[in-house]
């Protein structure tokens, strides 16, 4: 429950021809995680399947692009699972290439139509704008004897440079309409000069000419109709293209589905990457598997592979612990907590899996800080109602809601009303000091537990000195507990006590010596750093303990907020009163609920995780076959 699954390092030696088949079997089982470290490079100098992987990547890329245009209706389901040979992959890739060509042509055609539509709209805008200008539009049409006029559009940021460049060629640029990132302009200049020169310059500057219809001046209505007709034609072409694409999509659906299956079955071999090495016809696959699954793995391979193979499994060596993947607890109820833990990091192999501890302490603290029967039940009901949309976080929401409900009964609080239900334990505001001392006691217990977990983790990976003298080790914990005992005795009027004092002094001295010895620096530097770090250990424990005061503070805050809402409500009439009570409760539920969640997460991450787990472990990600029953 608290320890990750025991893992074995697995070496599978087999014939190179069987690699695709074997990878498929491994993926079907879903218990084998490849080990990509470059080992046995001399005995097995080649990395097989490079061409296979290239083909797969190319085909996968095409397939994903095609899906943007031809979505598949149903999720992937694999039935007839079989080995995909390189020839199968070549064939699938070629077919996908042809289909993608059609899709790409569709994209290009759509783009062309969009550009055409934009050009017509620009022309419409330009003509609408010309109507406000007091000029004879016939002057802008066709070639004139001495002057050349070019109405058009150009990207806005090119205009200043283009204007100066045109001036060099004796041309003039007039801006008359700015439209998003384009500007409508008229370029004018001498007829006989720089024909080719101007055309090339305008092309480079992204100028696109507006073709002014000859009848613009005399029959503007007809021109407007003609442009509307052009737009309608473009839309019709657009619809026709969409229909044609849809028909094409329907015609290739079945084959596309087949390609999806081919790619899914080819994927495991590609995912093995450098975990496979080979020497001629002999290959080696290396990876990790849970110890309890090794025999099942061996038996399945025996049954499914055609040729003989050798499977060797061994325990992880001490020097490769950082490479061993950690399989976190897989449980629907704990899954949301595991996700939150992964936000911080993955525990190293051998370290205690904090999921259960995290789940229980999170729910407990949330309930204590947000204890209210009404609010708790609303949260739990919301979690249940939207369980499908919460991406597996429903147990998290429901658990916190139920915990808040339970503490609501303990505090006797219902939608902020105290006294409607008699409290089973205490009404928080009746004795705030008691609440604060409970929170402190919880904090002490939490920190001690976390320190013990840290000591265990250090011992497991063989860091004995660290477990004894390092941060949050045995000596640090002794320092913390002796100080707390001494202070408690002082508060009780019994004096610090010889036992706690001796332990406190002894642990401080031990820490000073250890930190001084551990450093590689001059004596002066060692002394300064050892003193500062020992002092930091002490203050760290104390400040972390005080951090837990917030657990009580928020339970008090919850009641105080409710009192504020009721005070406001009482100053109003009946309708205002109940409106304020409802809205106030919603406000408390949403805002305080969010704040409490963040605060609990903060306590867990900074007061908890940072003490015992580095978070730099590797998550166990076994090869899986997408669409298979095991997936």
């Amino acid at each position: 429950m608290f320890k990750p699954l025991a893992m074995k390092h697995v070496r599978l030696q087999l014939l190179t021809d069987e690699l695709p088949h074997a990878s498929l079997v491994l993926a079907e089982l879903g218990v084998f995680s490849p080990d990509p470290r470059p080992k046995y490079t001399e005995e097995f100098p080649e990395i097989p399947g490079v061409r296979y992987a290239e083909l797969y990547q190319q085909a996968r890329s095409r397939f994903d692009k095609i899906l943007r245009h031809i979505p598949l209706d149903s999720p992937l389901k694999l039935h007839d699972i079989h080995e995909i040979r390189e020839e199968d992959l070549i064939q699938a890739n070629q077919w996908l290439r042809q289909v993608w060509r059609r899709c790409s042509a569709h994209e290009e055609e759509t783009r062309r139509l969009r550009e055409q539509e934009r050009a017509v709209r620009q022309l419409q805008n330009a003509l609408a704008n010309f109507a406000h200008l007091d000029i004879d539009l016939s002057l802008l049409q066709g070639d004139k004897h001495f002057l050349k006029f070019l109405p058009g559009t150009a990207p806005r940021h090119n205009i200043p440079q283009l204007r100066d460049a045109l001036a060099l060629a004796g041309f003039f640029l007039f801006e008359f309409l700015v439209e998003e990132d384009h500007v409508h302009v008229i370029v004018a200049g001498p007829q006989e000069e720089g024909r080719g020169e101007i055309r090339s310059l305008l092309d480079t500057a992204g100028f696109s000419a507006l073709e002014l219809p000859p009848e613009l001046n005399d029959e503007p209505e007809r021109v407007r109709d003609e442009l509307a007709g052009r737009l309608a034609k473009i839309r019709a072409a657009w619809d026709a293209e969409a229909q044609s694409m849809a028909a094409f999509g329907a015609s290739v659906q079945a084959q596309l589905e087949a390609s999806r299956r081919t790619l899914a079955m080819a994927e495991p071999f590609v995912q093995l990457e450098t975990a496979i090495r080979s020497s001629g016809s002999l290959s080696l696959i290396r990876g990790w598997a849970p110890a309890r699954e090794v025999e099942r793995l061996r038996e399945t391979l025996k049954r499914r592979l055609d040729q003989p193979f050798v499977l060797l499994a061994r325990d992880p060596e001490p020097n490769e612990r950082s490479e061993v993947p950690t399989a976190l607890l897989r449980n629907r109820l704990l899954a949301p907590f595991a996700t939150l833990i992964k936000q911080y990091g993955v525990p190293r192999y051998g370290e205690i899996d904090p999921t259960v501890l995290f789940g229980i302490s999170f729910i407990f603290m949330f309930g204590m800080m947000f204890g209210d029967i009404g609010h708790g039940l609303l949260i739990a009901l919301a979690g249940w109602h939207w369980r499908g949309k919460l991406y597996g976080f429903a147990p998290f929401v429901i658990g916190n809601g139920l915990s808040a409900t339970l503490f609501g009964f303990l505090y006797g609080s219902l939608f902020g009303y105290e006294g409607v239900i008699h409290h089973l334990w205490i009404a928080p505001l009746s004795d705030p000091l008691y609440m604060l001392s409970v929170a402190l006691a919880w904090g002490v217990g939490f920190l001690v537990l976390i320190s013990l977990v840290n000591i265990h983790n250090k011992l497991v990976i063989g860091l004995y000195t660290d477990a004894l003298l390092g941060a949050n080790g045995v000596v640090s914990l002794t320092l913390y507990l002796s100080l707390l005992t001494g202070l408690y005795r002082v508060l009780e009027g019994q004096g610090f006590g010889i036992g706690p004092a001796l332990l406190l002094i002894g642990s401080i001295v031990a820490l000073l010596i250890y930190k001084g010895w551990e450093l590689k620096a001059s004596m002066g530097e060692r002394i300064v750093i050892a003193v500062v770090e020992t002092f930091e250990t002490l203050t760290g424990y104390l400040s972390n303990t005080l951090s837990f005061l917030r657990v009580a503070a928020f339970s008090l805050n919850h009641v105080a907020l409710a009192i504020a809402v009721f005070t406001l409500a009482e100053s109003m009439g009946t309708v205002g009163h109940w409106t304020t009570v409802v809205l106030g409760n919603l406000f408390i539920l949403v805002l305080e609920g969010a704040i409490v969640t963040i605060q609990v997460l903060r306590l867990e991450y900074y007061e908890g995780f940072s003490r015992f787990f580095s978070g730099d472990g590797k998550e166990f990600r076994p090869l899986r076959l997408a669409g298979s029953e095991a997936d």
Binding site: Q58, S61, Q161, L168, A169, G194, E197, T204, A205, G206
Partner: protein, 350 residues
Amino acid sequence: MGGQFHKQTYVKTRVAIMAARLMPEAVRDDLPQGSLEDTGRRFGLQDLLSESLPAASLNRAVERAMIQSLTFDYSVLLRPFTGAERQVLQYWIRKFELFNIKALIRGKINALEDAQIADQLHELPPSITLPHEELLRTDNVLELLRRLEQGAYREIARQARQVYEERNEPFSLDATIDRLYYAGLLKRISATEPQDREGLREVIGTLIDHQNLLWLLRYRFAYGLPAAETFYLMIPRGQSLNHAALLRLVEVSNFADLIEQLPPSLHRWLEGAENTTEVQRRLERRGRDRVARTLKQSPSGVAQALAYLVLREMDLRLLFVIIQGKVLELPEELLRYAGGQPGSAEENWA
């Protein structure tokens, strides 16, 4: 105020320490001499060069090592900066991304195999987010352009489409990419504090001047482009070659007159140059001189950092050229010429 002062002090100290890595002139001049192994040993590349790789793979490996070295310096110098100063440095390093975009577009336009295009791409640090793989896997140039049109490279894609569809000369594409890059860089520089702006503009303005002058010579006298189009392809806001100077220079009709009419700060370096290659080599020296001045004299930490990175890049580029030449067993004379150094047969101005 105090924080700013400490940051400036830290950055300047950092830059001063790192500047010790820059190659003094004598070292640069000695580079073409000696064997490949000597050069490798001298610059910590012996392991790489001792691997018996084919010439092309070796060049790629050396190039990768150079870029890694530069991006390491970059990431160290970037750390203390925030806001506008940070953005200037972050934008500067994007030049490598643009190299790759050029290579991708050219490769796809010329219908090269993916492997051939991939060979021309720089391996970039993770902070640069260009989706190389995705772009490389596009099936043809139109698909690549459609992908680019969707993002920040819309203008580049538009120009590339024109090059592709109208069979234009690809230099308009290069010019567009460079123009957009420098415009973006200058925009970010203008957002910095006044005390930083001057030094930053001095460095970038110098680079813009040199690029403009070289392209001006090529467009006008090699490609025969008209003055108007040449001016349009220039990058605005250089240091010595300002707007008015460019307007004047593009109308000059021959090489010698153009050199004569250059502003004094450029003319001093280029007087007597007879061809574009020679101009390029002299500009390389001028660039080093001016940027090194900013490195030494600018009161701005970020300007010093940028100046260092520019000089470091120049050094690494020179080293790469020399190693490439030695791998190909080119004669020392040619190496000197390729590296733009004095002492080669064509050298008559130093």
